[in-house]
C-alpha cells in the first residue's frame, strides 16, 4: 500500500447520530457570519469616517490658566530639517522636563509636507516655502530659528599640504563642476589652481549628494547657481538633487557624513555641525567673494549674517510673507563664510482654524516653546556649531510669534523659565 492515499477512499466511519446537530450549527453560522461581517465593516467605516472628520462637532475648548504651566509630555510635535536636527534634539531635551517636544528629522521637504498636512505642530526647513507650497497651504508663518553653514567635506587619503594650509580649497565653480561630472579626477587643473603646492592624488572623485527633498541641498545648489553659470542654466537651485548627475545618494545630513567618511575619494556637503562632529573626513575651505578661502566656523557664518543684514536697504519679510528669495550667501565681508543660510520653523498663524483638535492651552504651549527657542534656546547654538540669532531677527521673530492667534484673538505670551540653558 502506498503511503499516500490512505483513507481517501475509505468510507466515512463517523457516527451518524451527531449529524443533525452539526448541520444545525453550520446553518446558524450563516447568519452569524453576516452579523459579524456587518459589525466589522461598520467599525471600519466609523474609523475611516472619524479620520475623515465626519463627526467633528463643536470642540469644547478648555480655557487655559494664565501664566506658564508645564505642558504634558509629547504635546509639541515637529518634523523636518536634518541640518538643524542636532540643535533641535538639544532643545527638545532642554525644554522643561525634556519630554514636551518630539522632533522627527526626516528632511526639510518632509517637514514642509508634514506642516502642510497638519500632522505636526511645527515644521522645520532650511529651504523657504516656494510659491506653490505657500498657495497650497496658506496661513503658514516663517520663523528663522537659527543659521548654519553648509560645507564641503571629503575623504581623500594621500593629500600633502604645504605649511600654512591644512585642508583643501574649493570655490563654487569647482564644486559645481565636480558635482555635474565635468571634473571626475581629484587631480585636475581647476582644483590644483586653488591649491597651489598641495599634492592631490590622481583618483576618481566619488560625489555624494542628498536623496529626497533637502534644505541642505537647496542651500548648496543655490550657492552653485550663484557661482557657476553652467550649473545655473542646467540645474538651478532646488530641494531635490538634479537627476542624471554622477555620484551616489545618501539620506539626511548624517547619512551623507557617514557615506563620505566610509567611502574613499568621496566628496559631500553637510551642515557645519555634522562636518565638525564626524571623524575621518576633511572639511574644505570655500572661496568667498573677496577671494579668500574660508574655513567655516560659527564666528564667520555669524559675521556673514551681520554683514548682509547690515547693508543699507536690507529688510526681512514679514513672518507671513514670501521668504523664497531671502539669501545670506556670498556675503561681501572679507572674512565671511560664503555658504551661510537661515533655517526656519514653520507654524500656522491661526492655530484654531488649522488644527481642529487644538485648545487654547495647546496653542499657548506651542507659542511658549517658540518664544523659548528664539531666546533661551539660542544659548545652545554656538556650542553645537550653529549661529545664535542676531537681535534684529529675534525681534522680528517675536513680532511674528505675537501675530499668532487662536480663535481670532491673540495668544497670551509667557516665556517659560522651565527650559534650561547650557551649563
Amino acid at each position: 500500500m502506498s503511503s499516500s492515499g490512505t483513507g481517501t477512499n475509505a468510507p466515512p466511519t463517523g457516527t451518524t447520530t451527531g449529524e443533525p446537530t452539526i448541520q444545525r450549527q453550520k446553518r446558524g453560522r450563516g447568519a452569524l457570519i453576516a452579523v459579524v461581517a456587518v459589525i466589522v465593516i461598520i467599525i471600519i467605516v466609523l474609523a475611516v469616517g472619524y479620520e475623515a472628520g465626519w463627526f467633528k462637532g463643536s470642540s469644547s475648548s478648555t480655557t487655559g490658566t494664565s501664566g506658564c504651566t508645564l505642558p504634558s509630555a509629547g504635546t509639541i510635535k515637529g518634523e523636518g530639517s536634518t541640518l538643524v536636527a542636532p540643535l533641535m534634539d538639544q532643545w527638545a531635551t532642554s525644554y522643561w522636563t525634556g519630554s514636551i517636544v518630539t522632533y522627527d528629522s526626516a528632511g526639510s521637504s518632509a517637514g514642509i509636507q508634514a506642516v502642510s498636512t497638519k500632522v505636526v505642530d511645527f515644521g522645520a526647513s532650511d529651504a523657504p516655502l516656494t510659491h506653490a507650497q505657500r498657495s497650497s497651504a496658506p496661513g503658514i508663518l516663517t520663523i528663522p530659528e537659527s543659521a548654519g553653514g553648509v560645507v564641503p567635506i571629503y575623504n581623500l587619503a594621500g593629500l600633502k599640504f604645504p605649511s600654512g594650509q591644512s585642508s583643501l580649497n574649493f570655490n563654487g565653480s569647482v564644486l559645481a563642476q565636480i558635482y555635474d561630472g565635468q571634473l571626475t579626477n581629484w587631480n585636475n587643473t581647476a582644483l590644483q589652481a586653488l591649491n597651489v603646492n598641495v599634492y592631490i592624488p590622481s583618483v576618481t572623485i566619488a560625489p555624494v549628494y542628498r536623496t529626497g527633498g533637502s534644505g541642505t541641498t537647496f542651500i548648496f545648489t543655490s550657492f552653485l547657481t550663484l557661482e557657476n553659470s553652467y550649473w545655473a542654466s542646467h540645474y538651478n537651485k532646488n530641494t531635490s538633487w538634479p537627476s542624471g548627475l554622477p555620484g551616489t545618494g545618501a539620506s539626511g545630513n548624517g547619512g551623507v557624513a557617514a557615506a563620505v567618511s566610509t567611502t574613499p575619494d568621496a566628496i559631500g556637503y553637510v551642515d557645519l555641525n555634522y562636518a565638525q562632529t564626524t571623524s575621518g573626513i576633511g572639511v574644505g575651505n570655500v572661496q568667498n567673494p573677496s577671494g579668500k578661502f574660508i574655513h567655516a566656523t560659527v564666528a564667520n557664518t555669524e559675521s556673514a549674517l551681520a554683514t548682509i543684514s547690515g547693508a543699507s536697504g536690507f529688510s526681512l519679510p514679514a513672518g507671513s510673507g514670501d521668504w523664497y528669495n531671502v539669501s545670506f550667501l556670498n556675503s561681501p565681508g572679507p572674512t565671511d563664510y560664503p555658504v551661510t543660510s537661515l533655517t526656519y520653523l514653520l507654524v500656522y498663524q491661526d492655530l484654531s482654524s488649522a488644527y481642529s483638535t487644538y485648545t487654547l492651552t495647546s496653542a499657548k504651549n506651542l507659542v511658549d516653546f517658540l518664544h523659548w527657542a528664539i531666546t533661551t534656546g539660542q544659548t545652545w547654538s554656538a556650542l553645537l556649531y550653529y549661529v545664535p540669532l542676531p537681535t534684529f531677527i529675534v525681534n522680528s521673530d517675536n513680532t511674528t510669534i505675537n501675530s499668532m492667534t487662536f480663535g481670532g484673538s491673540s495668544i497670551p505670551v509667557c516665556i517659560p523659565s522651565g527650559g534650561g540653558a547650557p551649563g
Binding site: 530641494t239 545618494g249 539620506s251
Partner: protein, 325 residues
Amino acid sequence: MESPTPSPTSSHQSPLARRVRRWPDQLFFAIILAFAILVVAVAFAIVGILAYNSQQSFRVFGWQFFISSNWSPNGQVFGALPFIVGTLLTSAIALLIAVPLSLGTAIFITTQAPRILRTPLGTAVELLAAVPSVIYGFWGVYVVHPFMRATVEPVLHEYLGFTGLFGPPGGSGDVLTASVILAVMIVPTISAVSRDTMAAVPAAQTEAALSLGATDWETTRVATIPFARSGIIGGIILGLGRAIGETMAVTMTIGNVDRVPDSLLGPGQTIASLIANELLSNTGPLQISAILECGLVLLLISLMVNVVARLLVWRATRGVGGRVV
C-alpha cells in the same frame, strides 16, 4: 460501524439548554471571525489605497511609467524602470550567492556534521535571521562596502570588466554590495527551511542509496535533494520574498541613485529603497503618486513571486511526494 454510546448531548436536552451551552462557542466563533475579516480587510485596503493614490501618476504617465527610466523630481517626470530593474537585479544576485551557501549549509548540518554539532550549528544559522536589518545595513556601510570597494571590486573590474557587468567601482554604495548583504540576510531563511525538509527525508531513502554504493555526494543528489525539493524551492522563494522587500539594509548600501545601474559595481535603487528615501521628502502630489505606484508594482512583484512559488512547489510535489522510489 459499531457506533458506541450515542452522544448524550444532542437530542435529550431542551433547545434552551442547548442554546445556553452553545453561546461561548458562538462568541469565540464571532471573535475569531472578526479577526479574520479584519486581516483580510486590511490586506484589501492596502491594495485599494495604493491603487487609488497612484491614479494620478497612472493618468499622467500611463504604461510609459513602467518602461521609462527617467525619474526626475525637479522636472516632475517619473518612470519606474530603474527601481524595477534594481529590485529584480539585487534579488537575483542575492539568490545566486545565497542558494549554494544555504543548501551547502543545510546539507552539511543534516547529513555530514557530527550529531552533537547539528543543533548548535542550526541555531547559529537561524540566529542570522534574528539580526535586525538596520544592523546588516550598518555592517554593510562600515565593513562590507569598504572591503568590497577596496579589495573585491577592483579585481572584478580588472579581470571581468570586459563583460560590461563590472564597470569602474566608486561611490558610497553599489548594487553588488547591496546584493551581498541581501544574500547574507536570506541565507538563514533558505537554509532553515531546506534543513527541515532534508531532515524529514526518510532514513530508508538515504540508506538505500548508500547501500547501492553511492558516495555521499551521490546520495545527496539522488536521494536527499529530490525528496526535499519542494521544501527547498519553498525556502528559496521565501528568501526571494525577503530580498525583494528588504528596505533598510539596501537603502544604506546601494547608493540610492534614481537610474538604471550602469554596472553591478555602480549605484542603483530598489523600489523599497526609493520609498524609504523619497516618500516623506517628496516634491509634491505627483511624486507621491508615482512613488505609491512603484509601491503597487512592488506588491505585484511579491504577489507574483508567491504565485510562482506555489506553482513550483505544486509541480515539484506532484508525483514526488513521499513516495518511496
